[in-house]
């Protein structure tokens, strides 16, 4: 029986975050693909509260919520730490990870699914938050410094998924003119080997998003 198992979904940025961390630390794991339209008994058993992926199983004990899992992974496997040692720097990393998930992501999501007359306002809000993020990045190679850290891992949806969304929908939020620093980070990020290995196939993701958009008769 494999010691570490991951219940995930190929297109989920949350699931891919966990894979990135496990691969970064050289942890062997068994990956179990979940069909989110038909959730397995295993998923319902190990994440009864949210019934979502990712769920990490370590020695049979489940852990859910990607940020919680990332901290668990960092505490359990010490190679290539993803959080800084210094408590203040650690607090900053946690702050920005939270900002990404609680503030940036919902704002970007809002653009995708808001009605036409609300879209401009949603765009403005997302731009504001991304500018805040860009300001934090400044001239650092990665949010984590010279190597990727927690914040870079959590920002995977900006690093990759956003580009796929933009191509699938025709919406343009992030471009070089508006976000030169963020675009520079995106280029470095997707070319980073541990990131590259843990991204879904771009064409498959775009096709999937396009089908979702057309199914909801959403037009940008």
């Amino acid at each position: 029986m494999a010691e570490v198992k991951l219940l995930g979904a190929w297109g989920s940025p949350f699931s891919r975050r966990v894979e990135m961390a496990l691969k970064l630390k050289g942890v062997e794991y068994e990956y179990i693909e979940e069909d989110l339209g038909n959730k397995s008994p295993l998923l319902l058993k190990y994440n009864p509260i949210h019934k979502k992926v990712p769920v990490l199983l370590h020695n049979g004990k489940p852990i859910a919520e990607s940020l919680v899992i990332l901290e668990y992974i960092d505490e359990t496997w010490k190679t290539n730490p993803i959080l800084p040692e210094d408590p203040y720097d650690k607090a900053m990393a946690r702050f920005w990870a939270k900002f990404l998930d609680d503030t940036c992501m919902p704002a970007i999501w809002q653009i995708m699914w808001s009605k036409e007359n609300q879209r401009e306002k949603a765009m403005e809000e997302a731009i504001q938050h991304l500018k805040t993020l860009e300001n934090e990045l400044k001239d650092k190679r990665f949010f984590g410094g010279e190597t990727i850290g927690l914040v870079d891992i959590v920002a995977n949806f900006i690093g990759f998924w956003l580009g796929a969304f933009q191509e699938a929908s025709g919406m343009e939020l992030v471009n070089k003119e508006r976000f030169p620093v963020l675009c520079r980070w995106i280029d470095e990020y997707v070319n980073c080997s541990v990131v590259k290995q843990n991204l879904p196939p771009r064409d498959k993701l775009i096709a999937f998003l396009q089908s979702r958009f057309s199914a909801s008769s959403w037009k940008y």
Binding site: I63, A64, V68, Y72, T76, P87, K90, R94, K98
Partner: protein, 229 residues
């Protein structure tokens, strides 16, 4: 550490502010409490938390830390030795963080929305949600406490702080709506825990009185009514 080295910007009624206060008390850290006034944000707050402009903000040696649970973890890491706030075992830590996230992302928003519910039906639906959540939390309590008095075991810990900080408002809501959301039949463990928590030495001086919160809720409602839509 000199008192002036540790400042906390907050407000007495905020459950989020209560969290770092309890954490600092557990570690016996003296700090200067800077109370924000409803309706205006101090220059210090705007400078220390430019991203969210919200309380609490801990300022330690001049450096600001924001987000209540991030602050609690910081306090635990900086002031060690001292009674541990997070459990030592990584899986127990993950469990505590999981439930804290559940509280902040699912349970508290439902509770908070009861006040602004558009009609009786909506209010009831939210109260049911809060009640169901409490049953889940009763289960979490059995699991985490392992027969002891707190989520953290013998001593109050991270999840006690994360959840306990909402008790004042939960009681105020029960009073304002004439209901019992936490009761002997569905959540006996939590009921007992709530008493132990609110009377704990690290908690009791910062635990808001139900009556005061009920009064404050009225003030808050009036204030919110004046805000632009």
């Amino acid at each position: 550490m000199a008192k002036s080295d540790v400042k906390l910007i907050g407000a007495w009624a905020s459950p989020f502010v209560m969290r770092p206060r309890i954490a600092l008390n557990i570690k016996s850290v003296e700090y200067e409490f800077l109370e924000e006034i409803l309706g205006s944000k101090s220059q210090l707050l705007l400078e220390s938390n430019p991203v969210h402009k919200k309380i609490p903000v801990l300022i330690h040696g001049g450096k600001p830390i924001c987000e209540s649970l991030v602050i609690v973890e910081y306090i635990d890491e900086v002031w060690s030795p001292g009674p541990a706030i997070l459990p030592s075992d990584p899986h127990d830590r993950a469990l505590a963080r999981f439930w804290a996230a559940y509280l902040d992302e699912k349970w508290f928003p439902a509770m908070r929305n009861i006040v602004t519910a558009k009609d009786e039906e909506a209010r009831k639906a939210l109260m049911d949600q809060v009640g169901e959540g409490l049953v889940l939390l009763e289960g979490a309590f059995s699991k985490c406490s392992k027969g002891k008095g707190f989520f953290g075991g013998d001593q109050i810990g991270y999840l006690d702080i994360a959840f306990g900080s909402f008790l004042g408002w939960l009681r105020a809501l029960e009073k304002m709506n004439g209901v019992k959301l936490m009761d002997e039949t569905k959540t006996p463990g939590l009921l007992k825990w709530a008493d132990s928590f609110s009377s704990h030495p690290a908690v009791k001086d910062v635990f808001p009185e139900t009556e005061k919160l009920v009064e404050f809720a009225k003030v808050l409602a009036k204030f919110k009514a004046t805000l632009p839509k």
